[in-house]
C-alpha cells in the first residue's frame, strides 16, 4: 500500500470497494451467461438438425477434423482467407454443396448440381426437384454455376468420404439456421449486377467462332461434354490423380479392384465406370464419391466421353 506513515490511509478501503465491484461484475456476467443458453431463447441446437438422415453434431466433428476454420470463418471467427460459411447452406442449398464438396478444387457445373437432385433425399431437403426450380430457389447457387461452373477454385481437394460430405452439409444446415442477431449484415446493393450484365456479352462473342468450323468429331464432343458435365472437376487430362484417376494414362492400363480382381481399362470398362461407377471400385478409391451418370448422359454421349478418354492415351490431348 502506498500510504506514508501517520497519514490517514484510504487506499485499503478503495481497494476493498474495487474488489466488491469486481464481484458484482462477475455476478452480472454469470447471470447473462445463464440467460444466453436457456431453452426459452429458442436458439437452434445441432442435436435437433439432421440432413438426409445425417447428424449435425457429427458434421461439427468433420468440420473440426479438417480444420475448416483455418481458412474459412464460421460466425465470423476463423482465418479470413476463404468465405464465411455460417449462412452458406441457406444461400446455395444442399445440391450445390453435394456437388461441390467431393471435388472442392473445381466449381460445380449445372449438370453436376442437377445430378445431385436425382437423389430423392437431396431433392427433398432442397425443396426443388428440377435444376431450374433449384437455381431459381437458390440464386447464390445459380450465380456460382453461371459465373464459375467448371473452373478451378482456390480450395484444395479434400479426401472427404460420402458420409463426411453429408455430415458437413448437416452441420452447415445447422449453422445456417442459427440466429446470429443480424450478422452478417445484408447488403443493400447487388454488387454482382454490374459484373453479371457484362458477362453474357463476353460469352456471345465466342459462340459464332465455334459454329463457323466443321461439325465436331466424337473426341471433340466428348471433350466439350466432359467440361460441361463437370468431369474435369475430379479428373485431370494428365496422369495426375485429383479426386478420381487422371485420364492421361488411363485408357488401356490395368486396374485392380477392391475385391482383388483386375481388368484392362477398355471401352466396355470405361462405359460401365461412367454409367454405374459403384459396380466395381478400384483399389485405393472410395465408393459413392463418383455419381452414376446413367440417365444423365445417353449412350452416345458416354461413347463420346470414352472416345475422348481414349484420345488422351499417353497424356496428350
Amino acid at each position: 500500500m502506498s500510504c506514508a506513515a501517520g497519514e490517514p490511509c484510504e487506499e485499503g478501503g478503495r481497494r476493498r470497494r474495487a474488489l466488491v465491484v469486481l464481484g458484482l461484475m462477475g455476478a452480472i456476467f454469470i447471470v447473462l451467461s445463464v440467460a444466453s443458453f436457456l431453452d426459452s431463447r429458442g436458439q437452434v441446437t445441432p442435436v435437433s438438425v439432421s440432413y438426409a438422415g445425417f447428424d449435425a453434431v457429427q458434421g461439427k466433428r468433420v468440420f473440426q477434423a479438417y480444420n475448416c476454420m483455418g481458412c474459412h470463418t464460421i460466425v465470423g471467427n476463423g482465418a479470413y482467407f476463404a468465405p464465411d460459411l455460417t449462412k452458406l447452406y441457406g444461400r446455395v442449398g444442399p445440391a450445390w454443396l453435394e456437388a461441390f464438396l467431393p471435388s472442392a478444387g473445381s466449381w460445380p457445373t449445372s449438370t453436376a448440381v442437377a445430378l445431385q437432385l436425382r437423389d430423392a433425399a437431396t431433392a427433398g431437403e432442397a425443396g426443388a426437384a428440377s435444376i431450374d426450380a433449384y437455381l431459381k430457389k437458390y440464386p447464390a447457387a445459380a450465380e456460382r454455376v453461371e459465373r464459375r461452373g467448371g473452373h478451378m477454385t482456390l480450395m484444395p481437394n479434400l479426401p472427404l468420404s460420402r458420409n463426411e460430405v453429408r455430415e458437413l452439409i448437416a452441420f452447415l444446415k445447422y449453422s445456417s439456421a442459427m440466429n446470429t442477431e443480424g450478422w452478417p449484415p445484408t447488403p443493400r446493393v447487388a454488387g454482382l449486377a454490374v459484373a453479371k450484365a457484362a458477362l453474357p456479352a463476353a460469352q456471345a462473342a465466342t459462340v459464332p467462332a465455334a459454329t463457323a468450323t466443321a461439325p465436331p468429331s466424337a473426341t471433340q464432343r466428348g471433350a466439350d461434354l466432359a467440361q460441361s458435365t463437370g468431369c474435369m472437376a475430379c479428373h485431370s487430362t494428365s496422369g495426375e490423380r485429383l479426386v478420381g484417376p487422371g485420364w492421361g494414362e488411363l485408357y488401356g492400363s490395368d486396374v485392380t479392384f477392391t475385391d482383388g480382381s483386375s481388368a484392362r481399362a477398355d471401352d466396355a470398362y470405361l462405359t460401365q465406370s461412367i454409367v454405374d461407377p459403384d459396380a466395381r471400385v478400384v483399389k485405393d478409391y472410395v465408393p459413392h464419391v463418383m455419381p452414376a451418370y446413367a440417365g444423365v448422359l445417353d449412350a452416345g454421349q458416354v461413347a463420346d466421353i470414352v472416345a475422348y478418354i481414349r484420345s488422351l492415351q499417353g497424356g496428350q490431348p
Binding site: 500500500m1 474495487a18 452480472i28 440467460a35 466433428r61 479438417y66 483455418g70 471467427n77 482467407f81 446493393v189
Partner: protein, 559 residues
Amino acid sequence: MIRIEYQTQRLSLRFFMLMLVLFLFQTAFGLLLTGQHIDPTLLAGTLNFNVVRAEHTNLGILWVLSGFIGAILFVGPLLSKRELAAPGLIRFLFYALLAVVLWNVATQVLAEQGIAGWWLGQPLLQEGLEYLEAGRIVDVVILVGFAILCHVVWRSFPPISQWNEIHWGLGIGVLALTLVWIFGMFFVERIDLQEYFRWYVVHYWVEGVWEVIHISLVGFLLVLMFRADVKSVGFAVFWGISLVWLSGLLGNAHHYFWVGTPEFWQFWGSLFSALEPLPLIFCFWHLYLDAHQDGEPLANMPAFAFLLGSVVLEQVGAGILGFTMTFALTNVWSHGTWVTLSHAHLALFGTFGMLGIATAYYAIPLMRGVGQFDQRPGRLAFWLVFTGMLGLCFAFAIGGTVQVYVYRTLGLDWFGGEVAPAMLFAKLLVPVFGLVFTIGAGLLVYDLLTLGLRVPVPAAARPVAATGWGRRLSGWETGLWLLAMWVFGAVITLGLLSFNLRTVQDGSMLFPYLMAGIGYPGLLLTTLLFVARFLRSLAARGPAAVSDQAVGVAASLAR
C-alpha cells in the same frame, strides 16, 4: 550490473532460447502465409493454408508462453529472495514444452486428411478450432506444465502474509493461466456454446491473465531498470490489474455479439470493453513516470526499447485499435475481416512478444556475465521489428477496410475472384513489411543467441545532444502524443461507423476509405515518431556507467 545471486535464475535461459527459436519459426510460417494469400495455389495439397496458419498461431502462443516462463523464473528468485523450488520439475517443464511443440507441429498436418484422433468424443491429435488447434493430448500436457509452473511459483514465493502486489499479480496470474485453460479442453456440440467457452480461453488469457502477468512483469522490470520504488510500482500494479478485470471481465462480451448468443451482449460488450483501454493508459503513464523519476543514463537500451515497444503497442494495438471495433455498431462491419488482424497482430506481438524479448535482453547479458555488450544490433533489430509490425498492421487495416466494403456493402462475400483482386494492394504490402520484420527478427535472435559468446566489438557510443528531438520528454508532451494517437483512433472508429450510413450502403466508398486513409497511417506514424522521440531523449542521457545499477536494485528490493 546485477550479479546473478540465485543459481536457479539460470534455468530461465533455456526458455528464452526456446522462445527465440520458436519466434523465428513462427515468423517463417507467417511469411509463407503471405505468399499463400497472394497465390492460393502455393503448396496447396502439400501444406495447406489452414495447417500453416495453425502452426503460425500455435507457435505464437507457445513462444509467448515460453518467454513468460523464462521471465517468471528469472524474476522469481529476486521476488522470493531465495532459490526457486523444485528445479528438477523446471527442467522437466522445459522438455515437456519442447515435446509439446514438436508433437503439435507434427499433428496439425493431419487436418489435411481430416484426422482428429477421436476417442471418447474428444479429438486427441488436433482440434481444428482457431487458437485452440492443439489436440487433447497436448492440452493435457500443457495443463500439467501450467500446474508445475504454479507449483514452482507458489512454493518459491515467501509466505502469503509477506506478499506485495507483484507477488499477488504473478501468483494469481499463473493460477488463472492454469484454470482458464481447462475451458478449452472439451468438445462442445453447439457453435454458440463452443464459441462462448473458446473465448474464455482466448479472451481471458489475453485480457485477463496474460495482461496481469504483463503488468506485474513490466512493473518489476521497471523496478530493476530504473530503481523505481517497489511500493509505488505496487500501487500501479494493483490498480492496473483491478482495472483490467473491472473492464475485461464483462468486456469479453464483445466476442458474443454475433456468435449466436443473445442481443443483450451487444449492450454490455459495447459498454465495458470500451473501458478496456483505461488500464493500458494507466500502465503507459506509469512507464513514463518510472522512466523519468531520475535522469540517470540507461544501461541496457535494447531491453528498454522492447519494454517501451510492449507498453506503447499495447496502448495502440490493444487499446486504440481494440476500441475502434469494440462497439456493436462498428464490430458488425469489422467482424470476420482483416480489420481484426491489424488489432490482433499489433496487440499480441506488441504487448506480449515484445515483453518476452525485453526480458530476454535484460536477463541474457546478466546470465552470461556480459557487462558491456554491443547494443547496436539490438537497437537496429528493435527498429526493424517495430516498423515491420506497424507496417503489417497498416497493410491489414487497409486490406480489411477494402474487404468490409467488398463483402458487406457490395455483398461479394464469396471468393468469386472479386475480393482477392480488390485486396491485392494490401496483400502485396504484407510481405514487404513482413520481410522487414523477418530481417529484424533474424537479427535479434542471432544477437541474443550469441550474446556474450561472440568477441565483443567495443562500440563507440555516439553522443546524442539533449536538445531538440533529444531533449527531456515532459509529461505534457507525452500527454499530447497520447492524445494525438487517440484522435486518430477516433477517426478510425468513425470510419468503421460510417459503413452504417445510407450513402455508404448505397455503394459510396468515400467516407470509410477516407477515414481509414487518414486514421491508420496517422495513428501508426504517430506511434513510430513517439517511440523515436522517447528513445532519443533517453539516449541523450549519455552512456551508462555499468556498475551503479546494482546498488539501487538491491536497495529497492529490500521492502
